[in-house]
Symmetry: D2
């Protein structure tokens, strides 16, 4: 199926597919651990799909603003790789799925040398935040935001400061992780400064079209096919996509790989960034989460589309 | 690059690539936990690559016979899926990488409901052995061997009975796992009968060309493109390939996905089965293992080739 | 209070104390993991208290026969110490409370060198069974039974063979533990032979007066004050009593030490052996167990009496 | 042996026993995790033994000042019990040995409801610090110091502020524990305020005679037999002594109970407080620690004396 024909088919079917998947939101819960998140409408579901020619299909609540949360970790990983290179980054975080919860401390204590198993679990992403270049937390955060704006081709991208403050004042488990890493010697900087960077990039507000644009850059090997800009070295895109397959959906990554078969990263705000390599960048939002922390309706929608359009990499 | 041109390039470069990678075997150890395995030559390294037209390239010790060990688990999983369907299989084993050693018992005790995290770790593969249809262990084993012969298109494929006996008489950890699963109610059959099936399929002796042929069937969605036979439903191939990416190389699967980027399954005898989807089935053997249990020289060779010929899925 | 006055007071109050504590049995469950145990009456409660002069007080279902189960582990530990000495015994089992369930495998996998944390958890007691001297499992079992008879001063003590068979045919978790220990090299003998010894001593049938007599020997430093026989070297009694304080009541040992303050060992059949050093041997039975595996009514009764008669060691 | 005769014997033998045990310090390491501790002389060893009549025996470096560190946890536990009662205290910390390291986080994550297993491991002691009454951290600390001075009958007892600052600025693992507890809802107060109380009581400087006096109060059921003051309700002494037996020597408590058989609490500065109930309060210092965190020479000395004078409770 040539791209444009499939895009037409997507445009035609998306509203109905969204309507069906939306019903599944009733089986999930909006995250409450960041107080401000709890306000999001549980039944929301939106999707944007963007192809390299700039054609797009959107449906449902694709305009709903939401914070990136863990989705941002894919891009801070890439920026850290661009800033420090593979060798330094992978001396601080591993490459393996952990099999534990995203905020687990077990393997830090049990498995030598106590570095996070991968850069997408919380412990790993906190270490990644510490590797971003910049003189102090504000400059680091500014560089990250600048990078995100470039990728989304949207200079208006900014923090949701209310959610930033909400998370910053309640993120005791992340502080616990960060101090553990500091004790292990993995984290060298001041814990509160590192967390400030981390909370900021988690709180960047976005909507589905932005996320689809960012994903499209990954789908196209690091180039923005619409602007023609080369934004990320291909090797780092490859690394990021691999982690998205093996660890992107928390400890339901294996199930997602079998059910959908695309590189993806979810966030606790209900966002999912995914892509069909070479073909589409995709942004999804659906705040009701399943037990594993992924958007119930969003995952259902992606399963439906992947099966219908035969998108699985495998 | 058209297939045949790349095959020519492979034929030309393989001997030199094998020679370079073979030197890395010195960093590994031949497995000793099955006494008979310890006899294999540590510095051996062989590879066979087969394309859908039947063209092949081989180098090094590609003719060395070795037992399939954990490589066989991919095919018993597929046979169990064909025998019982997804629903029953995934009520008994999960879909997630475990983050622990292949023979770990931690998650069976710690994570409800105590089913193995995936079908490729030992606990999971033992459960899969119990799901193969057949009246008693001998008939189950016969069905498995028949299936392997079909996939390898080689009726001479058979057990290495010395290694079977060697493993059967020393596999205390596998017995421990099996009794734990029996206690949890995941395993219903007699433990020794299940293990007899498991030890038999681990002990099927093979060489690189056989493995490449079996892998080619997976690379071609379940069809043997040479014989034209349809051997496995495509959905089950997809499931198997996904597990090979997320869990196929023990708890170095993430690293392999980043370094090589192909679905693969390794075994303690030093075998690795991998594939370039749609293009090649690949069989590798190199008995010296790294700390994670994968062939040192074999992984090095696949990294070299994947980078050189740009094979990564990601 | 001189002994005999307190014994009079005990005789006077026991029936009422038993009646009050018996009501608590409703909060517990009779163990069902050994099928045969499930037949015991849930509301039963009995106690026998014996002093060095041979005076005794009994109340409730003190004549109810029950199998020793884990209570036997105190005496097999002592026999192993007598057979092998401290040095060998403590090269095979540790001296520490584990903090985990009695049948847990976690620390065997996580904590080098993989020996059981103490001789009273299942893994430890299985190792202890393997250390008993004797040519083959039958002779070992015969020596253990002989030792138990001596301690209880009762030649009629014997196995409940129905419960022996019941446990032997269903004890998958204990088999799992034993094979793990075999794999770790802690257990040298044949697993089924070791377990046969273990299941036999767990199945020795007893009643409260027997248990009180055995406990009295411990309370009197290894001497039976009634017969005048010296049965156990004092050092081994000391070791046994220490383990009873730190690990005797599974992972409720700390709570029992605070609430009762006496060395004790419980079993899954509802038995508790305890003692007031120098003063009493005490046997209790109450089959309804709490979540930690100890007799609900039995623990309540001992708390009541220890507080009333100020028995705590601490 | 009447008290005074034994005291004479102790006075006579202590110098030689100290000399012998001091040689064992060579097998240990002075703690380095609090930078200031590393300055203590490794080969130091001192002991003071005090009886209810005020007779004492001291030898070695009994005058060496050292900070109480974990030894202080026994007394903050008692003060918390006096401030809040058993019910509240044991809703926040458990009663069981953990089997893990003193600073482990495993069970907080793995075992519901995520409260510390006992009040003597770090996590538990931090919770206990939060339970001390007082309007803000300074008043809480003042109350604790006042209590310690009363128990030691020494108004000069004070903080070593250099060690307080040293620990406060480096205690990343304790911060990690505290934030975990805050996340679990076990800790309600501000983490830094709670830790300030905790670091202060750990940094109270003391020497062997002070520690012997404090221990004597416990040995005498809460009464200071020299001043005649009643300082602690007997029930809380009983609770404290029980914890000292089951958890006082970190995860070597079982071994200490078997080797020495006395309630004891050690600290990372090399201090050990122990007692012979009804007879002696004992303070020991020996900065070289074994792998489990206890004073090598101190434990050796106590083993020697307990065996020689038959002090074991068991």
């Amino acid at each position: 199926m040539p791209f444009t024909a499939e895009m037409d088919a997507l445009r035609a079917c998306l509203p109905q597919r969204v309507a069906v998947s939306r019903a599944h939101a009733a089986n999930g819960q909006v995250a409450s651990y960041i107080p401000d998140l709890a306000k999001t409408p549980r039944e929301a579901l939106g999707i944007s799909i963007l192809d390299p020619s700039g054609n797009s299909a959107s449906a449902g609540d694709s305009g709903l603003p939401f914070t990136m949360q863990s989705v941002s970790k894919v891009f801070t990983l890439i920026l850290a790789l661009m800033d420090r290179g593979e060798h330094i980054v992978f001396s601080k975080v591993g490459m393996e799925p952990s099999g534990d919860n995203f905020n687990s401390m077990l393997k830090l204590e049990l498995v030598e040398p106590g570095i996070p198993f991968n850069p997408l679990i919380n412990a790993g992403a906190i270490v990644i935040s510490s590797l971003i270049k910049g003189d102090g937390p504000q400059k680091k955060s500014a560089r990250i935001l600048h990078f995100f704006r470039e990728l989304a081709h949207n200079d208006a991208l900014d923090y949701n400061l209310e959610e930033y403050r909400s998370e910053s004042s309640t993120a005791f488990r992340n502080r616990s992780l960060a101090y553990f890493l500091k004790d292990n010697g993995v984290l060298k900087d001041d814990v509160e400064e590192v967390l400030d960077v981390y909370f900021h990039h988690c709180a960047v507000e976005i909507s589905c079209p932005d996320l689809a644009r960012m994903a499209l850059v990954l789908a196209c090997g690091g180039n923005d096919p619409i602007s023609g800009q080369s934004l990320i070295p291909r090797r780092f895109v490859q690394i990021a996509k691999t982690f998205m397959v093996t660890c992107g959906m928390y400890n339901a990554s294996g199930e997602f790989a079998i059910g959908v078969g695309l590189p993806a990263k979810s966030g606790v705000s209900g966002g999912i960034m995914t892509m069909v390599p070479g073909r589409y960048g995709i942004g999804v939002v659906g705040p009701a989460l399943n037990r594993k922390g992924n958007s119930v309706a969003g995952v259902h929608l992606l399963e439906t589309l992947s099966r219908e359009f035969d998108w699985s990499l495998f």
